[in-house]
Symmetry: C2
Subunit: 375 residues, 2 copies
């Protein structure tokens, strides 16, 4: 067609094509929304923070704006970590530092977050792209490397100590990895820095999971209570079995992400009760919970150093304020089952050694059910 155009027509045609191309480019690159400097509680369709700031008016959170000062380090951007990252991003966390050495595959599409057209990208690149589009107010930093090598571990721990906003230590580390070595590395780094962290995991058969809140020296570290297979003298590497294709479900992984980030919000924004250990059994819709004391005979030297440092630490007593909040703003339909409140105010903590005993002898831990889990 262009062959038959006059020079003037050709020039017009070129202009039109260039404009179309520019638009295509602009449409692709245009940020979906502008940055927002200060959180507002204004109730308009255009305010992405109105429903979050409403938590203040509802009496749930005293100072929601504090979230902008928080830095979360997230290790493992898979089925649990990617959804946790999206939740934190949509909540408007200050800064998010992500680690993962894996690439997105079509085989990951049975879990939330990643899209088929991201297959082949590194998980951190794909996540950063999507998350920055969702909320440009969050500061993102990410690394596509294995944290367990000596060289990377040093850098990883350095970011833990200085990667927070204004060069401070991060506020919280989230462990969303799927293997023993990475968990051991995070545990070691956190014990050495006395860094508060939260653990998460989903079982190979996709129908159970857990989250755990780790305060070095005060609650059990990952080595205080070794997994069954280690305490029985097996090879810890078999925990993530090579060649076995683990099952996974978007439901179980999404639920564990939600439990994890809810615990993060309660911890950093100071509302409700932070859970020390919370399990999820999907087959029975059963949610076991108990706290774990560190093992005085833990083989991890840094853990024992933290234990000495925090000697005499007692779990904080839950504030009475929660009850008032709950009575005032009840379940949507007014239906609510009252908990057994008798022992709510003091935390009961099981020594890790006791749990470890259960694990070693019976294969399952079975402390008294229904232990309270309040901070």
């Amino acid at each position: 067609m262009a062959d038959k155009m006059s020079r003037e027509q050709l020039l017009e045609h070129v202009k039109m094509l260039e404009a179309k191309l520019a638009n295509a480019g602009v449409e692709k690159k245009k940020p979906a929304r502008q940055k927002i400097d200060k959180l507002s509680a204004k109730v308009t369709d255009e305010n992405p923070y109105s429903r979050l700031m409403a938590l203040k008016r509802m009496g749930i959170v005293e100072n929601y704006e504090k979230i902008r000062e928080v830095t979360i380090m997230l290790v493992g951007v898979g089925g649990v970590g990617s959804v946790a990252a999206e939740m934190l991003t949509r909540c408007g966390v200050g800064k998010l530092i992500m680690f993962d050495y894996d690439k997105v595959e079509l085989a990951n599409m049975n879990r939330l977050f990643f899209r088929p057209n991201q297959a082949g990208m590194t998980k951190v690149a794909a996540a950063s792209e999507t998350l920055a589009d969702i909320n440009p107010d969050v500061v993102f930093e990410s690394y596509s490397y294995d944290i367990t090598t000596v060289k990377n571990f040093e850098h990883f721990q350095g970011r833990m100590a200085k990667g927070g906003l204004n060069g401070k230590p991060v506020d919280l580390v989230l462990c969303c990895v799927d293997n023993y070595e990475a968990r051991m590395a995070i545990n070691q780094a956190c014990n050495e820095l006395d860094q508060v962290w939260m653990e998460s995991g989903v079982s190979e058969n996709a129908v159970s999971g857990h989250i755990q809140f780790c305060l070095p020296g005060r609650t059990a570290c990952f080595e205080c209570s070794p997994p069954l297979i280690v305490s029985l003298g097996g090879d810890e590497k078999t925990l993530k079995r090579e060649g076995v294709c683990a099952a996974s479900l978007p439901t179980t992984m999404g639920l564990v992400s939600a439990l994890l980030v809810q615990n993060v919000l309660k911890y950093v924004l100071n509302f409700g009760s932070v859970s020390y250990y919370l399990g999820y059994n999907a087959l029975k819709d059963f949610f076991p919970t108990w706290p774990m004391r560190p093992n005085p005979n833990c083989t991890n030297a840094a853990c024992k150093k933290c234990q000495a440092k925090h000697k005499g630490w007692e779990p904080p007593v839950r504030e009475k304020k929660d009850d008032a909040v709950e009575t005032e703003y009840d379940n949507e339909w007014g239906l609510e089952v009252e908990g057994e409140e008798a022992n709510d105010d003091a935390l009961q903590v099981y020594p890790a050694a006791v749990l470890s005993l259960f694990v070693s002898s019976h294969g399952v831990a079975n402390p008294k059910r229904g232990i309270v889990n309040y901070l």
Copy 2:
């Protein structure tokens, strides 16, 4: 620049621009992956179903392929419904029929799923676009209208009766709406058709929620046990208060979506125990559960007709198989708290009237805690 080109150069330039534009278009329209005709358990990076089919090898699900024959109708594509739709899509459900009359706003960005650049689109259009990209194997059908008007209600109920694959009734209806009128409409339609459905809800203060499994005539319908405000003689319209900006969190909504779709999977794929009622209290990480019998004095005539039809119905006894599954494939770290199994095999169902009594007199329902919830 084009001004100084020769005619030949101009023609070359036009070709190049046209090619670029064509590519931009192709890149935009190219489906992210091809349709897959038959689910495979093959463990490759390219198989989006490998981790789901692994549920069979793990002994959790006997026939995962059955999901392809299932049609789910989902009403309300908001904070809970959109995430539920994504989970069902990633699980490879056969067909998904969605209803919502609302548009995407930036104010929705504090919940998962929708992206800022979808602001202004109808929720069903935005959801269909995203979901078809995630899994082109699912058949999508959607309507952007209010189901509570007389004309729309008729069409809505028609799709319930004939919208399933091959023109059959849908397998399950999910209620993910946020207002009383829409819940009443779904309840009415399901009672009239004796259609099994599941209810979900999140509280205005964003820190509690619930799911409920409704078998017309066998478990309580929405009118069997009226919400507190109605039984106290108040105006039901105040349940969703006008002018009040409800708080919401991606965590609570994501968790309720996960509980809901997990219950759907257990029901349609026949594994684990389907919960009749499961609550979530985020402040305490407490998950109350109890089943509800229909109210013999329910004011809904269609409910009473179903009650007569199903007279003598007893809740199915839980299959023993679950226990075996759980013992074999335990929590990733071998840590598991054993439930109290004494009454697991028979379902205990509270009459709705009793719950209603609790609601009316105390403002909160308080049946014995820890009632088993097995089908």
